[in-house]
Amino acid sequence: MTRQRETFSPLQRGLHWAMAVLVIAMLFIGIGMVTTLHPVYLTLVAIHKPLGIVILILVLLRLAVRLKQGKPPLPDDLPRLQHLGAHASHLLLYALLFAQPLLGWAMLSAGGYPVVLYGPIRLPPIAPHNDALHAVLRAGHTWCAYLLFATILLHLAAALFHGLIRRDGVLGSMVFRRERV
């Protein structure tokens, strides 16, 4: 990046907020569906699988945009540790956004399930049918979901800390449409 920007590009902001809504919805759908026997279970599962794959596609797109467009720099006076924390947590978020839908897809493959997205639309298996593998991936899908939720809470806390306490423009860089003066 040669030119320094103060905000993420509109495309980046659009992707960030669209994904934020979808991912949070997916976490609630997921945790809700595995704890009910009510008929809503099947409705939630039917939303969960295609939406998870949409997130996988969006994160691929988002990473490409991010590599091409870069990001606005963090404030110079931000302590080194917070700098590091910001980078590490964003890296972790990207990693989990990839891992979580892939785990979902792979665990169904390893469980010998057809990976039905909608009606006749099915995905091919990406893992061999194997009980031990299924067990690991299924547990992975749960623990990655918890980790993702915890990381998002931390991320939210940090964003609010920047916006309300430091008031250093970091929150604005993901919120505002126009460059601030």
């Binding site: 320094q4 920007r5 103060e6 976490l27 609630f28 945790i31 809700g32 569906m33 595995v34 704890t35 009910t36 026997l37 009510h38 008929p39 809503v40 279970y41 099947l42 599962v45 606005p72 720099p73 963090l74 404030p75 110079d76 006076d77 469980g111 010998g112 399930y113 057809p114 039905v116 009606g119 006749p120 099915r122 049918h129 194997n130 009980d131 031990a132 299924h134 067990a135 299924r138 547990a139 939720f149 809470l153 939210l156 806390a157 609010l160 800390f161 309300l164 306490i165 430091r166 008031r167 250093d168 423009g169 970091v170 860089s173």
Partner: protein, 363 residues
């Protein structure tokens, strides 16, 4: 300059207030997640609770299915005669031969039960079409199911809980259940009067739950289906059962298959208006239209430990396009509970190692 810091500093009180605000946002978010996950609703009937209750009926089925725990695998094929294609666009109902991976079982959570003592026998099938579309079904030999709702299923399961003091369920609990659940009566009558047979081969296997077939014109047909046996009933007096040994059904099946394949005709029943779609305790009148849609041929049986059915979940909601679930509340509950049971048993592989029977030993 990017990120110009604000000039007006915050007072310590302001900082404290804002930090508290951030804390509150986090607390509310975390609580919302826990709420969605049922942490604040211990009374919620969850898949985990129902599956735990199933495993509490004695003979802890670690590594195994939490219900219908004892069984054997089979392989064969389904020859569709094409008649089903008038009512459903499902690929497996178009005229043709499709491979089947199946399982016979008995409806108990007790692995150590003599299979002959299973009042309810079951057949599970997975039929795969060349295009990859799958039809999975778990069927019982009773003409109706014992309960109509997941809640009633749970209560029935609890009534079968083994009392650690006696090693048996409390007989009063089941009596109380029957009294408080009138829908149980038709099943109870069948269980009491139907002859016992020492074979899986001579039994019909019924979907019990209702489903919908969708035809090429988009019309929906409410259906139930049944696998009808082609060998004569071979009843034995109840008193004889105990003498037959723990694995009689498995041995009978192997024996019969050494002489040739076993077949069942798949018969689809079309509902008439007013037939209940959401109550598996109620049989439909016998004069409904029946359509023979094909023949299941069972060629081989395999011990479950090494068999192809072991690591399959016969979730009855895994359906090809052209077949859909009805509004029967048991179906979503079955899907959720079977997934939980499957997740548990695949993670307990150490308790159920794959093994080949020792040289010379009979299964």
């Amino acid at each position: 300059m990017p990120h110009q810091p604000h000039t007006i500093p915050l007072s310590p009180a302001q900082i404290a207030l804002r930090l508290a605000g951030i804390g509150a946002v986090l607390a509310v978010s975390g609580a919302g997640f826990a709420y969605a996950g049922g942490w604040f609703s211990p009374a919620r009937l969850t898949p985990a609770r129902i599956v735990t209750a199933l495993a509490d009926r004695g003979g802890d089925p670690l590594g195994h299915r939490r219900n219908h725990s004892k069984g054997v695998c089979f392989t064969g094929d389904f020859a569709a005669n094409g008649q089903g294609a008038h009512y459903s666009t499902a690929a497996v109902l178009a005229k043709g031969d499709y491979p089947v991976t199946g399982r016979f079982g008995i409806a108990t959570g007790n692995l150590l039960a003599a299979d002959i003592t299973g009042r309810v026998k079951s057949m599970a099938i997975r039929i795969v079409a060349p295009n990859g579309a799958e039809w999975r079904s778990g069927m019982n030999d009773s003409p109706v199911f014992a309960v109509a709702t997941p809640q009633a299923f749970y209560e029935m399961t609890q009534a079968q809980d083994v009392d650690p003091a006696t090693g048996k369920p409390d007989p009063a609990a089941m009596k109380h259940f029957a009294k408080t659940h009138p829908g149980f009566a038709p099943f109870a009558a069948w269980a009491k009067t139907t002859p016992w047979t020492p074979s899986w081969a001579d039994q019909p296997y019924n979907s019990l739950n209702a489903f919908r077939f969708i035809d090429a014109g988009g019309d929906r047909h409410l259906v139930r289906w049944s696998m009808q046996p082609t060998v004569p009933l071979d009843p034995v007096p109840v008193a004889e059962l105990a003498k037959l040994g723990p694995n009689y059904l498995q041995n009978d099946l192997s024996q019969r298959l050494t002489k040739g394949p076993l077949t069942w005709h798949l018969i689809v029943t079309l509902a008439a208006p007013g037939d209940p779609s959401n109550d598996a305790t109620k049989a439909w009148p016998t004069d409904r239209t029946h359509v023979v849609v094909g023949t299941l041929t069972v060629n081989q049986t395999q011990p479950e430990a090494n068999g192809p059915c072991r690591d399959l979940n016969y979730d009855p909601t895994i359906l090809p396009t052209g077949i859909q679930i009805s509004d029967d509340p048991l179906l979503p509950a079955r899907s959720a509970a079977y997934a939980k049971s499957f997740d548990l048993r695949t993670s307990e592989a150490a308790d159920y190692p794959r093994k080949t029977p020792a040289e010379g030993s009979k299964p």
